[in-house]
């Protein structure tokens, strides 16, 4: 079927098999390969992207379900001038990654969390990242990065 998805602000249109998963549409059709396929079973969250602004696991969404809707991947976070998004900056500053495989999903889950809860407590951050597994078990720095990103992201969203 023909699927048209607005990915990071640009329309991507393609004829794909009905069974195409959103994550493969993003990686193989839109050529945006930052979104990783991890467990492929809705557990690890490595494939997390925003669908109409809310985090979803793109291994468990059909491209057809995203037809006509907006998807944001980690490639779409930086602004036009290349300035990194506050969540990306915080992940860098707090060294919130080791091997980096879970990072795109962690960042997108964080962006979704901060849209819903601009000033989360540490406990709320840990709950909100339940669906994202870090195989290096580097959770402490990730949580620190989310807490550090919150004020800057709040400011960006209100400006």
């Amino acid at each position: 079927m023909k699927v048209t998805v607005t990915v990071n602000g640009s329309q991507v249109e393609a004829e794909v098999p009905d069974r195409t998963l959103l994550v493969h549409f993003l990686r193989d059709v839109a050529n945006l390969t930052a979104t990783n396929v991890g467990c492929d079973t809705t557990s690890c969250g490595a494939c997390t992207v925003l669908l109409d602004g809310r985090s979803v696991k793109s291994c468990t969404v059909l491209a057809a379900q995203a037809d006509g809707r907006e998807v944001t991947t980690v490639e779409g976070l930086a602004d036009g001038s290349g300035e990194m998004h506050p969540v990306q900056r915080a992940f860098q500053a707090e060294h919130a990654l080791q091997c980096g495989f879970c990072t795109p999903g962690m960042v997108m889950a964080t962006v979704s969390l901060l849209a819903e809860n601009p000033a989360p407590t540490e406990e709320e951050v840990r709950s909100a990242l339940e669906g994202n597994l870090c195989r290096c078990t580097g959770y402490h720095n990730i949580v620190r990065a989310v807490l550090a990103a919150a004020p800057a992201e709040s400011e960006r969203r209100s400006s």
Binding site: M1, T42, A64
Partner: protein, 273 residues
């Protein structure tokens, strides 16, 4: 992993969804949020030839006050249930249980109706609607019918829905004491299915993953009705249950967990009310 090939059809109205289902009969399945169905299809445990996407039927996504009951549209997501102020005041058990399903990404996509029709005995919301004495509304070619939660779940992944019928609404009577509730579940990781779970509303006690369907712990309910203390009533939690044995626990372990969790749930419910 990708699902076996199928034909994708999208319904833009409830009538269109029923028409599409009538065309393809047993070969078709409705797709709501897809968070039970798509994982099964990727494992090839479900191989429908046609998927009818009802995910855009926004008229089936609502939580409404209706005098003595609350009406919940079948396509309401877990996240919407968890954030509903009406549920927070009238049915906190449902709001809280929904907030504990899976993880945020799953709650953004998964729907109450999808969970109920999937009828996994390890799922949380089937037991919750049983504890709440809900009525499920099915719409089919011959009209609407109401099915009590107790009759809806017929077996493992099996419900009272007929081919071509669509679950549209869940009607939940407002409990006399909304505050007398508890939801307990035991998991290894936060995102896992419950090894055993318990939903309590007033004197109603329903169990997750203690049989082929969600079940009411009737021996516990009878003991409570006869005036037993929570701990004594909870001792009956595994009576009449037939839990399966799997990698997470054998039958005896699940029976033990049921007694422990029912005791905790009854004590929490009593403390709240």
């Amino acid at each position: 992993m990708i699902p076996a090939p199928f034909t994708y059809k999208r319904a833009w109205s409830v009538d269109e969804a029923l028409d599409l289902a009538a065309q393809d009969g047993d070969e078709a399945k409705f797709l709501a949020g897809g968070h039970s169905l798509l994982p099964l299809m990727k494992l090839r445990l479900a191989v429908p030839e046609v998927l009818i996407d009802i995910g855009r039927l926004h008229e089936l996504s609502y939580v409404r006050d209706d005098d003595s009951q609350v009406l919940v549209g079948a396509l309401t997501s877990y996240d919407e249930l968890a954030r509903s102020s009406l549920l927070a005041s009238e049915l906190p058990l449902l709001a809280h249980a929904a907030s504990r399903v899976g993880d945020p990404q799953v709650r953004h996509r998964g729907t109450i109706g999808g969970s109920l029709v999937h009828a996994d005995p390890a799922a949380d919301l089937p037991a919750v609607v049983m504890a709440l004495d809900a009525t499920l509304v099915a719409l089919g070619p011959s009209g609407t019918r109401e099915i009590g939660a107790g009759e809806f779940f017929q077996g493992l992944f099996e419900t009272a829905l007929q081919p071509g019928e669509l679950l549209t609404e869940i009607r939940i009577p407002k409990p006399r004491a909304a505050g007398a509730w508890s939801f307990q579940k035991f998991t290894k990781r936060a995102i896992d299915w419950a090894i055993v779970g318990v939903a309590v509303q007033g004197g109603n006690v329903a169990l997750v993953n203690m049989g082929q369907t969600p079940i009411r712990a009737s021996a516990v309910e009878q003991a409570l009705a006869a005036g037993a203390e929570p701990r004594d009533a909870a001792a009956h939690a595994a009576e009449g249950a037939s839990p399966s044995a799997d990698i997470n626990g054998d039958r005896g372990y699940r029976e033990h967990l049921a007694r422990v969790l029912v005791a905790r749930a009854l004590e929490e419910s009593a403390a709240r009310s």
